[in-house]
């Protein structure tokens, strides 16, 4: 079967095993060398493409128990974040960390140690995981937590599925009074102001910046910073008395039924969109507003199959993090190169991160920049140059987004790689579990 990630590049052939229970997965693991678990296929590149075989794990998707006292939720790893939100927001609970899409599985969230708009304060999803069950290469199932098999626990968080197959996980939900977000928008006219605004929002629960990556010169890095808190009940009553306390998500209204032609997105159209979006943000800035949880956390989920926006040949998402020190000059140089090439997109995001949890977790204290680029021949050498700037600055690239970084870039930027490889070797995972990502990067 031909499989692809969310970026639709690369497309590769893999055997697939449909797993409906944890026992199915254990059996499938034993059948092939070179297997990888796949959740909902929302990693962008080749992380969920098995080198030989791919385990389709959505069927391992039952919730197991929830304790309102401790707020500990236990679910099978194929459970979707969207299902958790549907079930628990009406009861006043929210996941500790959510990434930019709700169409991911819990297993995938652990394997990628996903971060959200609260990473600067609360860490990644892995930081909130109490324990999980992991199928090893021989089919044995291990409980992993900070006290039990701790080395595998920290290797598996952010470990891209390469230590085994996660079948079940427990994590703590947090209480919320409403399903609304109290949002303030801050305008930053350039990169320096943007970084300062994110720094100033350090105490806020959520912060993220949309950045105009085609603006140049004095406007380089101009951004809109969205700062948010879960709204209190009285804030909702004061603002929108007629509104429900816990609004339910609406079905996506928009859908991209077909691929856009390659010429639809070009420097002129994207620049125009970005400029208009920035001006609209400037008009709205200042006055706080109440935003529904769904568009606040998952704006792109509102457009079904938005990955078709970039046409048939697919797209790359380039997401890097650079350390705090020197963030301004380094990010300036990266933005200069993107803006100069005219290849940036309108979906560029800047965000402050804290430390990561797992051995291969992406986050480090610093700033992350993510943008989408259509796959074209000349984009690869551009990204290769930009990667050098990132690695020299002590930064790195997010494996869940990656489809193309070089082995040298990867090895130079993940300092705990040796420890990760040792654990894989010690548990026999290196011979059994392999994605195309792992083969490409020699993980």
């Amino acid at each position: 079967m031909i499989l692809e990630g969310w970026g639709r590049y690369p497309r590769l052939v893999s055997e697939v095993f449909d797993c409906r229970t944890p026992a199915d997965a254990a059996e499938a693991v034993a059948r092939r060398h070179g297997v990888i678990a796949r959740g909902n296929g929302r990693s962008y590149g080749d992380a969920a493409l098995g080198d030989v075989a791919t385990l389709i794990c959505r069927g391992i998707g039952r919730m197991k128990r929830f304790d309102p006292e401790t707020r500990l939720l236990t679910v099978e790893a194929g459970v979707m974040l969207s299902d958790i939100l549907d079930a628990f927001i009406p009861r006043g609970y929210f996941p500790p960390v959510v990434p930019g899409t709700k169409f991911v599985t819990v297993g995938g969230m652990i394997a990628s140690d996903v971060h959200g708009k609260n990473h600067h304060r609360d860490g990644g999803f892995g930081a909130h995981v109490a324990s999980f069950k992991l199928i090893l290469q021989d089919g044995e199932v291990l409980n992993c937590s900070r006290n039990e098999n701790a080395d595998l626990f920290f290797a598996t968080i952010g470990g891209m599925g390469l230590t085994g197959v996660i079948t079940e996980a427990s994590f703590h939900m947090k209480p919320i009074e409403t399903g609304w977000i109290h949002q303030e928008t801050v305008v930053a006219e350039d990169l320096r102001e943007a970084l300062a605004a994110l720094q100033a929002a350090d105490e806020s629960s959520y912060s993220v910046a949309w950045i105009d990556c085609l603006a140049r010169g004095a406007s380089l890095g101009r951004s809109l910073i969205f700062v948010g808190e879960h709204a209190k009940r009285e804030q909702v009553v004061a603002h929108k008395a007629e509104r429900e306390t816990f609004p339910s998500p609406k079905k996506p209204r928009l859908s991209l039924p077909m691929d856009l032609p390659a010429w639809a997105l070009n420097r002129t159209s994207v620049s125009a969109f970005n400029a208009a979006y920035f001006r609209a943000g400037v008009r709205k800035a200042g006055a706080p507003s109440l935003v529904h949880w769904n568009p606040y956390f998952f704006p792109l989920d509102g457009i079904h199959q938005w990955n078709r926006l970039y046409g048939r040949s697919g797209f790359l998402q380039h997401q890097c993090v650079v350390p705090d020190t020197n963030a301004l000059p380094v990010l300036s140089e990266i933005l200069e190169r993107f803006a100069g090439s005219g290849k940036g997109s309108f979906l560029a995001v800047l965000k402050k991160l804290g430390p990561g949890t797992g051995l291969l977790s992406f986050p480090m204290p610093g700033y992350t920049l993510a943008l989408d680029l259509p796959v074209t021949e000349d984009v690869f050498p551009l990204l290769e140059e930009i990667d050098k700037v990132i690695v020299d600055a002590g930064g790195r690239l997010y494996l869940a987004k990656d489809a193309r970084q070089s082995r040298q870039t990867f090895e130079a930027s993940y300092p705990q790689l040796a420890a990760f490889r040792d654990i894989r070797r010690a548990t026999g995972g290196d011979a059994r579990f392999a994605s195309r990502l792992a083969t490409r990067l020699g993980i």
Binding site: R20, T21, R62, M63, K64
Partner: protein, 249 residues
Amino acid sequence: MNRTGKSVLLLGATSDIGRATALTYATAGWDVQLAGRHLESVQREADDIGTRSGANVSVHRLDILDSDRFSDFVMGLPVLPDTVVCVIGELGEQDRAEKELHHASLVMRTNFEGPALFLGLIADLFAARGHGTIVGVSSVAGDRGRASNYVYGAAKAGFTAFLSGLRNRLTKAGARVVTVKPGFVRTRMTAGMKLPGLLTAEPKEVAGAIFAAAEEKRSRDVIYVRSIWWPLMTVIRSIPEPLFKRLKL
């Protein structure tokens, strides 16, 4: 979450339609009794439904082919439920059913004999109590026998006729019977088949239709989940037999 104090018994709870139906009732505030052959699998679904909805969910072992145990099973339920939904179905393999009597018998007994006997027992209790709703999931395959699946179709036709008779009998007693014909549904039972999109429902859609017919629109007796099946099956039923027997459907 508002609990209604009502309860529903689901037969065939580990099927995709059963699972979706149980969750629909649980989310609407009903207590749920799940019955199935393998207690471990039923427990997995019960945990899922209970965690998602906060509803009370109990599990009960039931083999639909073991009618000797039906009485004990019903006596063992925490309460006699307000509604019983039977989604048990076994498609079997038509060519095997043509050659192996044992396989044909399994398909007939699972789709007709077992569910009919069980619901007949429930019907007595509902009639005595003076209220209750029985939902039987039958099939469009029972509307007319076709070469491609007539063993399954015949069993479902029997089930449809049984439900019709039960309805005729129970109406005076104050109880209801709803017959549901889902058409094609994207489930494990149909995995790997090529299904026409317009005619194919998702399990969630079937669950919603069951709940609406049984609990909301109380005038519905027989429903197709997607309304397009009604004109389609009307045409198929009305084709004269001399012509029908030559068709490949």
